[in-house]
Amino acid sequence: MALSLSNYLICFVLTFCSLAEAATRVYNFTAEWVRANPDGLFERPVIGINGQWPLPRIEVIVGDRLIVNLNNNLGNQSTSIHFHGLFMNGTSHMDGVVGTTQCGVPPGGSFTYNFTVNQAGSYLYHSHLDGQYPDGFRGPLIVQDPESPYNNRYDEELVITLSDWYHDEMPGLIKRFLSVTNPTGAEPVPNSALMNDTQNLQIQVQPGKTYLMRFINMAAFAAQYLWIEGHTFRIVEVDGVWTEEAEADLIYVSAAQRYSVLLTAKNDTSTNFAINGAMDADLFDKFPEGLNPNVTSFLVYDPSAPMPTPSLVDEYNEFDDHMLVPYDREPLLENPDYSFKLDVKMDNLGDGVNYAFMNDITYVRPKVPSLFTVLTTGAEASNPAIYGVNTNTFVLEQNQVIEIILNNHDPGKHPFHLHGHNFQCVVRGEENSNDYNPENVTLPEIPMKRDTWVVRPNGHIVMRFRADNPGVWLFHCHIEWHVDSGLTVTFVEAPLELQSSLSIPANHYAACNAANAYPKFQTQGNAAGRTTDLLNLEGAHVSPPPLPEGFTARGIVALVFSILAALLGIAAVIWYGVGELAQTEQASGMERVGVITEK
């Protein structure tokens, strides 16, 4: 355990040496299957990089060019990398979303991600294809900030990833999840929780020193309540946004959220303390017997002292992230130019499977990645219709102030994530507050900003951002199951500007055109792959038809037949009842008497 700790300590000297000028950092990643048993309960195949799992941390400095050369050595699955939280300004095609900004990198294929990082903070990278990343393909990405307001406030930095963990592999789990026999859409429940992709990790700290702890939740599903006994966090960053310092005893980190906190070690070295992560069991449809939803690491002051047993808490009083104030104190974006509602619900379609919907549309991948559609459809690219009904596309004009009003009609929590932007967190309704009603609501002057935000069960959230980043960006729930069941919309931002500024490297087309490309995509035209008659979407991928309402022709025929059968049956009973017995039959009564009485 102590060994793996060194992986997560950052040597500051090195970082400062390379401060002077922007560098190009190259990572050569070969994705391949390796075996791992991070919870000590079950060894399974996981997606490793260069033969290793947990995955290496990507570390860059603000202003750096980051190049990731991805080789897919998985053999049986396509893949991609999404750099979660990075805006990809000017490089929308590097966002890594299969079906939106690229085709999948097929087995044996390679793909180069090449972009400049202009944001500081804590991020993660993960594949963005078919719910693949929970099989292991997710890792931390840290961007150091030479101009961080907190640079002189801490001595060392610690990166702690959180995750849930499944013993089964995603393709099988997804198949069972999206099945007629799972009509309630019950999400598979994780088998374990992890910290730094292990459990019971001992993290050595020096008395009196202050640490910047970066918590990154890389989970597929479960949020974690997180606290360190005997210590208080001072939150300074959420999702790459520096905040004014805020004290918290316990934080709630949803899937894909990040928190950086300052934590000052005690001067007393006699006792060690538990770092507790507890998966939010409210998310689970049912609580399986034997599941340990908690994961513990230790803040170690004295390795020879015993490791504490985590104490129980009665109630989670988590810090309300809506209270945070961004360090840049950016004021509320006033007077949105384009405001729209997204109503979230879960429902079953005609195939009996439970899907997730926004505005009654469940996301289905188009035949042409939406970014390719933007670049190949000329002036029509501003018409959301050409992206296909089931991409649920909204076209945003450049520099508009956008307001999203998301009403959650589902009794579950959902961490919504926007690609390509941070958004201002303007309003969040409490649980069961129902739809957003703008009357009598005072908006904050300086709203919190982040890129992943949790809407409460049957509550609502209102977000604003400026459409200053031309590209194609998804907005989706970051629970991977809900991505699989379609809880995604597409924002096509400044498509005409994109056409003039963006050109896609040949490398990207190679992935689309590979003989073993899967899923198959075309690279031109509307969502149906048509290059002329762009408003004709015939042949585009669409969701299954809705469940039939009430009686269909089949049901009416069956009911009529049943009634007819009953009437005929009754007629037969009556007909028999009024009929007379022939003499011989009268006698048979006596015969029966005879049979019984004769011995």
Partner: protein
């Protein structure tokens, strides 16, 4: 209102009582008409006692088992039937359906016998000391002798336990104080209808009453057959989905779309006691979510009923089964008929049962 009277519980008890009391009252009315206190009071009383004994034993047994279930349910906090209750209900429903069907045909047929034969038959069945040769015929005789016990016994056991399971299901969310009055009212309402049917049997023309009540029995039995299949299918679906779909309401996901013939998101006979739809279900086998299995079994049941009655009447008219040339028991049967022909005439004067039918029989006998 909700504190003292749980409407769902009322409907559950009412529908289950209704089904039971229909069966019991039809049997009692049948005995009264066909054997009758004025013909053979002793046999009549014995058979009537059987009916009540079956009802009482069934009731006692289901109260005992029910108390155990409810005790486990509230005491141990777990539904001991969950997982198997649908199988249990399905099998019992099918068995009850078959028993009612056979009994219904038998009652109708016996009613066509001349009163004398009927009474003799009943008396013969009463005699305990007879021993017939084969196991099979002994079993048949046993069934015939105790039919008046078996039918109410099985019916009440099934309906009673179903009521207990259902009440256990909905009762969890109800105040305990709201249950007793609802149960009593349900019992009274169900029994009252049964009693009215019985009384009606005394005033209505005998034959019409008997045919009509047999029709009701067959409607109930057809519904039971369809429900039995439906219960088994619902069990399969619950196993597949790993949950109790029926308790999830009546919307999408509570049924297997692959098996669905029709589904309306309302009118569920099981949700919250089912209300009027529950009564509709227990009398006619209504389902808001019909499956291929439940529809096909319902139709096949009626097909079987039609074929059976047509065949029976054919045999009664022709003294042999359809498609069989020779009367199967002509040599033995005919002489007896001859020898008994004089007895047929005596009954006419007494006027019990079927005057017309008897006259026809007499005429035929005379003609021969």
């Amino acid at each position: 209102m909700a504190d003292v009277f749980a409407v769902p519980v009322f409907f559950i008890v009412f529908r289950e009582t209704l089904e039971t009391s229909l069966v019991v009252s039809i049997l009692l009315a049948f005995l009264r008409q066909q054997i009758g206190p004025d013909q053979d009071a002793k046999t009549y009383k014995k058979l009537r006692k059987q009916v009540w004994l079956g009802t009482g034993t069934g009731l006692a047994l289901c109260i005992m088992i029910g108390a155990g279930i409810i005790g486990a349910f509230y005491g141990l906090g777990r539904n001991t039937w969950s997982g198997s209750e649908l199988i249990w209900e399905g099998v019992f429903a099918i068995v009850a359906s078959l028993i009612i069907s056979v009994m219904g045909a038998a009652l109708l047929r016996v009613s066509k016998l001349q009163a004398k034969w009927r009474v003799k038959l009943a008396k013969a069945l009463e005699a305990k000391d007879n021993k017939t040769s084969t196991m099979r015929s002994r079993f048949k005789t046993w069934c015939e002798r105790y039919a008046m016990f078996i039918l109410p016994f099985i019916t009440i056991l099934r309906e009673g336990l179903e009521a207990v399971v259902f009440i256990g299901g909905v009762g969890l969310g109800l105040k305990a104080s709201s249950i007793p009055l609802a149960v009593v009212c349900g019992l009274i309402a169900g029994a009252l209808i049964g009693y009215l049917v019985y009384r009606g049997g005394m005033y209505a023309p005998i034959r019409i009453f008997l045919i009509a009540s047999t029709c009701v029995l067959y409607l109930v039995a057809a519904g039971l057959m369809s429900r039995g299949v439906w219960f088994l299918e619902a069990n399969t679906w619950n196993v597949l989905t790993g949950g109790d779909a029926a308790e999830g309401g009546n919307g999408a996901g509570t049924y297997d779309i692959r098996q669905s013939v029709w589904h309306v998101n309302c009118c569920s006979p099981s949700l919250n006691g089912g209300g009027g739809w529950g009564v509709f279900n227990s009398v006619f086998g209504w389902q808001n979510s019909a499956t291929y299995g439940s529809v096909i079994s319902y139709n096949l049941y009626w097909l079987a009923v039609i074929v059976a009655f047509v065949t029976m009447r054919y045999r009664e008219q022709n003294s042999h089964w359809p498609l069989m040339r020779l009367p199967s028991r002509g040599p033995q049967g005919l002489p007896r008929t001859q020898s008994d022909s004089s007895g047929g005439g005596e009954i006419v004067g007494k006027g019990a049962g079927f005057e017309e039918g008897t006259k026809v029989a007499v005429r035929k006998v005379d003609a021969s």
